[in-house]
């Protein structure tokens, strides 16, 4: 048994002529928090969508717990949770129904128990019980992210994905979300894969960082190693300079 929770080999995905992921390899170890950084449009969201089967890769292999998931018809989502960039809450449902979606949908839990459980998890992400009956449209962006987080962790998944969890939030709220991510992941012992271009957030939540550039992982290591690295691509991205080997396609 390998200790890799997720093992990606030669993953290739193109849209038309545009190669987004080009024979990419990536390992996510059991229980670690891996952060993938990279510029806008480098394919970070595409990567996460391929792993979850929302997009079908053109070729390559993705193994979770040693099982191939590309093209599988099994329900691989049971052990995964996902926080979307825009929270993606269902606006036809109330906040607690969003959080308890899985409990109501699959397990035959009663409405009352599901609501109690939802309120418990909402508390865990710092939301008061009276938020439960609101509609998602009545919440601020930061609160929506928290509800999204609650929805992702309520069934205690083994793997949690975070798609740009701090984008669009003020720095303080961003840090609150960072803390919640660390807490909930540690609390569950979950493996997490976060994609972001927020370096402050990456430094805070990462056990290991990987950089995606032109369809490949061009560097990976710990935060300490990152600060010592002299990889010019990495250096440019960290310092946020427009001068360097990375050319933005405008």
């Amino acid at each position: 048994m390998s200790e890799n929770k997720i093992e990606i080999r030669k993953l290739y995905k193109a849209f038309g002529k545009k190669k987004v992921l080009n024979d990419m390899d990536l390992d996510v170890r059991q229980g670690e928090s891996l952060v993938v950084i990279g510029g806008s449009g480098t394919g970070k969201s595409v990567l996460i969508k391929c792993i979850q089967g929302l997009l079908i890769p053109d070729s390559g292999s993705i193994k979770i717990d040693g099982h191939e998931v590309v093209g599988t018809t099994e329900d691989i989502h049971q052990k995964m949770g996902m926080l979307f960039q825009g929270a993606a809450l269902f606006d036809s449902l109330s906040v607690w129904e969003n959080v308890a979606f899985r409990l109501l949908d699959k397990s035959k839990m009663s409405k009352k128990d599901a609501k109690l459980e939802a309120i418990r998890v909402l508390r865990q992400v710092g939301l008061a019980p009276d938020v439960a009956d609101l509609s998602p449209a009545e919440l601020s962006g930061g609160m929506q992210k928290r509800v999204g987080l609650a929805r992702a962790i309520i069934t205690r998944p083994e793997i949690i994905f975070f798609d740009e969890p701090t984008t669009g939030l003020d720095p303080i709220m961003a840090d609150v979300i960072n803390d919640l991510i660390i807490e909930s992941a540690r609390g569950l012992g979950a493996t997490t894969l976060t994609i972001t271009h927020d370096m402050a957030s990456a430094r805070k939540i990462a056990d290991r960082i990987a950089m995606l550039y032109q369809g490949k992982i061009i560097w990976s290591g710990t935060v300490k190693e990152m600060d010592k690295s002299d990889n010019p691509y990495l250096r440019q991205f960290i310092s946020g300079s427009s001068h360097g080997p990375i050319k933005m396609e405008v």
């Binding site: 979850q52 329900d75 949770g81 960039q85 825009g86 993606a88 809450l89 269902f90 929805r151």
Partner: protein, 270 residues
């Protein structure tokens, strides 16, 4: 000089063929997507879990709240037909002719087609907008990551509602449309009420009603499928959702008219 000319002509021809070919290829490709979508939708209509609560909500939206608009359109349609028949057909025997023509045209054609077009504008558009918004805000992806099948959660309830609700709406429209003809016949054309009702009843045939109901089932299916299809495939934010809404209404309206002809021909041109 002539070489150049020839080149230009060839280039023009090429771009002409290309201009023809591109939309054709795009059309064939989208037909492929559509048939795949329809097959997947129909399959998932019969697979559990069945979301009864969602089905109930679609019934309300599509059925109950469409009653006023369906009633209004069929009422006026019946009234107009009564006047047109009276003025168009010789006045002799007009009494029985008006009742019969109103009956047949409302039940066979006007109630199903007009109701379907109204519901396509009201509900098909709403479906495309709602599902399209869910698509561009990643709510459909979220459904998948929560182990729910979007075809069963979003599309099956809408398709079932379309197939079940449209016939009921059309039956309602039949009654209102015939009533519209009756009102004009009695109060405008001074027919005898008892005779009018008698004429209507003695000409009432189950094939007329059945034709309307069969059409309604097909139209309901078309409205829901086109609304869901365009919503499901929409991309690119608010603009994409707007386009999806327009496309849903236009394509379902055209399909309704085409299928109306086909069904009519199948049943009546023997």
């Amino acid at each position: 000089m002539s070489m150049n000319n020839e080149k230009q002509i060839t280039a023009k021809m090429m771009s002409f063929v290309q201009a023809l070919g591109k939309p054709l290829v795009a059309f064939i490709v989208s037909l492929g997507y559509l048939s795949q979508f329809v097959a997947k939708s129909v399959y998932n209509c019969f697979m559990p879990p069945f979301y009864v609560r969602l089905l109930g909500r679609q019934f309300m939206n599509m059925g109950f709240y469409s009653l006023p608009v369906v009633g209004l359109t069929t009422l006026f349609a019946g009234m107009v037909i009564a006047i047109q028949t009276y003025s168009g057909i010789s006045k002799y025997g007009a009494e029985s002719a008006v009742a019969t023509v109103v009956l047949i045209s409302v039940t066979r054609e006007l109630a199903p087609v007009l109701s379907a077009l109204m519901v396509a504008g009201r509900i098909g558009a709403a479906m495309a907008a709602e599902i399209g918004t869910m698509r561009v805000t990643e709510q459909i992806d979220a459904l998948v990551t929560l182990s729910a099948n979007p075809f069963r959660y979003l599309i099956a309830p809408r398709v079932w509602a379309g197939i079940i609700v449209m016939p009921l709406l059309v039956l309602f429209g039949d009654v209102i449309g015939i009533f519209g003809g009756y009102v004009v016949g009695i109060y405008k054309l001074d027919f005898n009420p008892a005779n009018y009702i008698n004429n209507t009843m003695s000409n009432l045939q189950s094939i007329d009603i059945m034709t309307g109901v069969i059409k309604a089932c097909v139209f309901g299916f078309i409205i829901s499928i086109m609304g869901c299809y365009h919503g499901y495939r929409s991309k690119g934010g608010a603009q994409g959702v707007g386009e999806a809404t327009t496309n849903a209404v236009v394509s379902s309206s055209i399909l309704i008219l085409i299928f109306n002809y086909l069904i009519t021909e199948m049943i009546f041109s023997r």
